[in-house]
């Protein structure tokens, strides 16, 4: 057995220890990415090997709380993939206009960037007042940040550029105020947003969504877990509801078995036939 295979065993045992001690199940995450996160956490901890890190995780819950963040936090940006937002505005929004009420779910919303992006799109398209946006994440810390809606000045430059490329019709600077060396998104954008903790891996479907954003979330899951989560998502959509994935994700053969059809295939927007 070579050292890489031995390391794989150590990582698996580490994830097993987390599951048994705290109930968080990271065992079916995509191995390459979770391995990288575990090794980064090990380097950050200063421990010599995973056995030591595991001991601290098992015996020190506050330490684990921080480590869980590092293992699971999702990094995103507002209007990531501007061409997706252009397509959403021009082709999904006209369908959404035909509904009197809109239920929209952002899964794995992390620190909320994409939630505010959606809120801005709905505002500009005149749909915000009839929308209820559910923003969920595994991490309470990320959700707290999402609720706060403050971002650093550096990333705002990227957000602004994305907004303009993504078909924004107004002035992006009108959606935030400068605050403490960063920006705070306008309160009005989260008036119809509910933030709450939800674990895609273990929690149930919740229902009758018109749109689910699950962009670059499933890439962190192994094949079986991804299939399970997609099942949950399909159960959470109303007939004709939209599922939006990330730019380099594809439903593949699962699309058919879960009754999804391509709506805008190049932007990974699928429609549930139910």
């Amino acid at each position: 057995m070579n050292p890489a295979e031995v390391e794989d065993i150590e990582v698996r045992l580490f994830l097993e220890a987390i599951h048994r001690r705290y109930g968080y199940d990271l065992r079916d995450y995509a191995p390459a990415s979770i391995r990288r996160r575990v090794l980064l956490a090990l380097a950050k901890s200063g421990h010599a090997h995973l056995g030591q890190l595991q001991h601290e995780v098992l015996t020190c819950p506050p330490f684990f709380a921080h480590l869980l963040e590092d293992l699971t936090v999702r990094v995103s940006e507002m209007f990531r993939d501007p061409s997706f937002y252009r397509a959403f505005r021009t082709q999904v929004v006209p369908v959404l206009r035909t509904y009197p009420l809109l239920k929209i779910w952002h899964t794995g919303c992390a620190t909320g960037e994409e939630v505010y992006g959606t809120a801005i799109v709905l505002t500009e398209e005149g749909l915000y007042e009839r929308a209820q946006i559910y923003a969920t994440d595994l991490s309470p810390q990320a959700l707290a940040q999402a609720k706060e809606g403050t971002y650093s000045s550096e990333v705002v430059k990227t957000f602004t550029e994305n907004y303009q490329r993504g078909g924004g019709t107004g002035n992006f600077a009108a959606y935030y105020t400068e605050a403490y060396g960063g920006v705070a998104m306008n309160e009005a954008l989260r008036r119809n947003v509910s933030f709450f903790q939800h674990n895609l891996v273990s929690d149930h479907a919740f229902g009758e969504m018109h749109v689910i954003f699950c962009r670059n979330v499933l890439i962190y899951f192994g094949n079986d877990l991804r299939e399970r989560v997609l099942n949950t998502l399909s159960q959470s959509l109303c007939a004709g509801g939209f599922l939006c994935l990330g730019a380099s994700e594809r439903l593949g053969r699962l699309g058919e078995s879960l009754a999804f059809s391509d709506f805008i295939s190049e932007e990974r927007i699928y429609r549930h036939e139910n």
Binding site: A4, A30, R36, V75, T158, G246, S248, E249
Partner: protein, 194 residues
């Protein structure tokens, strides 16, 4: 039809570059024959939105079949795979690609270090890493990891690169098996798998 074991045994060639990397690839790739037996992965730092057409551009420079990588795509020998913009690219043990949106490394996503390190972990001594022109030090640490597991590594000769920092960082960080012009690196890759 080759067995899964034989497919894996052929190993993986990973090529990374940044500023000037595309120009180097234009000279390197034509050296590889249409029936080159390995899977080749090309990762160029690119504009976050632009370069969506990189696979099309590269397919005019190589006889190998070219594929843009999507999450979970299988690693197929004899194909040239292009890393997508704004994701890190990694390898899984079951000969599939994995993507993630983790924070940039050395200001880069995709990062060459992330790809090389992941390839070294999965393919071990059957990994070949090539570092081309670029103005950052991304890739040097990954090259060292490939070397550490017994793989082969090469760098573009800095005199032939418009971005000298990247290949020079590779040469300074580890013992490199080959330094040469893009054409020479292409020939070197070809004779590894005649």
């Amino acid at each position: 039809m080759k067995t899964k074991r034989e497919m894996a045994d052929l190993g993986l060639v990973c090529i990374g570059g940044s500023q000037g990397g595309f120009e180097a690839l234009e000279k390197l790739l034509p050296q590889l024959p249409a029936d080159y037996p390995c899977a080749v992965v090309v990762l160029l730092h690119q504009y976050r939105h632009g370069a969506g057409n990189l696979p099309e551009l590269l397919s005019t420079r190589t006889a190998m079949p070219v594929k843009a990588v999507h999450d979970r795509d299988p690693v197929i020998p004899g194909h040239l795979f292009v890393a997508p913009a704004n994701y890190h690219l990694l390898l899984e043990r079951h000969h599939a690609f994995a993507l993630n949106t983790d924070a940039p490394v050395q200001y880069a996503r995709p990062s060459i270090d992330v790809l090389f390190e992941s390839a070294a972990h999965v393919y071990g001594p059957r990994t070949t890493g090539v570092l081309l022109s670029g103005a950052s030090i991304d890739g040097a640490s990954g090259l060292k990891q490939i070397k550490a597991v017994g793989g082969l590594v090469a760098c573009q000769h800095p005199d032939t690169a418009s971005g000298k920092v990247m290949p020079q960082a590779g040469i300074d960080t580890t013992t490199v098996d080959k330094v040469g012009s893009p054409q020479e690196l292409g020939q070197w890759l070809k004779q590894l798998h005649p």
